[in-house]
Symmetry: C2
Subunit: 217 residues, 2 copies
């Protein structure tokens, strides 16, 4: 990351700063000065700040969703049974392992995702849904086979709950670690949290259905 081109230096720096301080709170001047490039370079290479944000996500998500697709192919080819543990395990190992040389990278990206998802107006949310919805649905289909007793709509929501638990927790890891440290005198890593997450998610996803769900207006 030292002598990379202007474009990559911008992307690297923007990724970190966006995760640290948020989109609106990170100015182009902060990015360009820390990256050691000229202010105008962002608009020259990306067109606008919003395009920069999208580019940051694309650079991370495209390889990730491709890797996820490949893992699902593998799973189907090898006849691995569809259990919640297997399906969620793939995602978890992938999220933590796509950038083994930089263990911080995954945490940075979860923070980014958290911000993208909690942006109320939801540009990015829609963008993610349209561009990476296919792999997502494939994943959901595997989960459905793993818990056939859970109705599809219920599973849809449970997957959203899981997403929330994951992104929310890992995006706030820094603060949460401080609390955990003061309460338990113990440090935790992203891998540690993920290991704790898995049983929780499995338990939630395959929970028995409530007796009846009434729909109101």
């Amino acid at each position: 990351m030292a002598q990379a081109g202007t474009v990559d230096r911008i992307l690297d720096t923007a990724e970190v700063l966006f995760a640290q301080k948020g989109f609106a709170e990170t100015s182009l001047r902060a990015i360009t000065s820390k990256a050691g490039v000229n202010l105008a370079a962002v608009n020259y290479h990306f067109g606008s700040k919003e395009a920069l944000i999208q580019a940051v996500f694309e650079r991370f998500l495209t390889p990730f969703s491709a890797a996820l697709g490949a893992k699902l192919d593998e799973m189907e080819a090898s006849g691995t049974p569809d259990t919640p543990e297997n399906v969620l395990g793939i995602v978890s190992r992938l999220a933590l392992g796509t950038h083994p040389q930089d263990p911080q990278r995954a945490a940075t990206f979860f923070r980014l995702s958290g911000q993208a998802y909690s942006q109320p107006q939801g540009h990015l949310r829609d963008y993610l849904h349209t561009h990476y919805g296919a792999v997502f649905k494939r994943l959901q289909a595997h989960l459905q086979r793993a818990v056939p007793d859970v109705p599809p709509m219920e599973l849809f929501w449970r997957v959203q709950f899981s997403l929330g638990a994951v992104i929310f927790t890992l995006s706030g890891m820094q603060s949460l670690q401080a609390i955990s440290r003061s309460d338990f005198n113990l440090d935790v890593s992203a891998a540690d949290i993920t290991r704790r997450l898995l049983p929780f998610l499995v338990g939630g996803i395959q929970a028995p259905m409530p007796d009846q769900l009434k729909v109101e207006s």
Copy 2:
């Protein structure tokens, strides 16, 4: 909300706008013009924009945490057994029912909380933790009695996971409803989602422990 005083008109409007567009993306001018008050009124009555944000949270959270404390008193007095369903049920009914005259209000506030928690630098997160941490710990203690086999630290994280699932889902309800509608042709309300959430959370919180948790640096 029609003829309220300046302070309340500001708070009402700010609450809605912050939830809709975020803190940084909502200008004082947008708030004051929509509230029909002068721009300077915010700085006059609250001192600064950040103080306004805190005031919005305080106005909602203080009654809520008081009500939660009362419900816990009630539970202890009546000898209601500490089960995950009972404890989580209290919170859920409270979150949905504190403002029965305005069902939108709860959703608005969840969106607010989502933004507060995902703000990376975490002023608000710390503020919430220090001001309302006591009730929170009390709740966690009840949960601990409900699932004595789960070690305290594990429970701590599971509560965080649950918080993530709740806030994340309800803060993104609007977008998620759109997806759900297109996938299932079905509409859902906040109460509906909450009813789906409960079994998920109960399943996650009382999930069996993984065989062993190694701690890494």
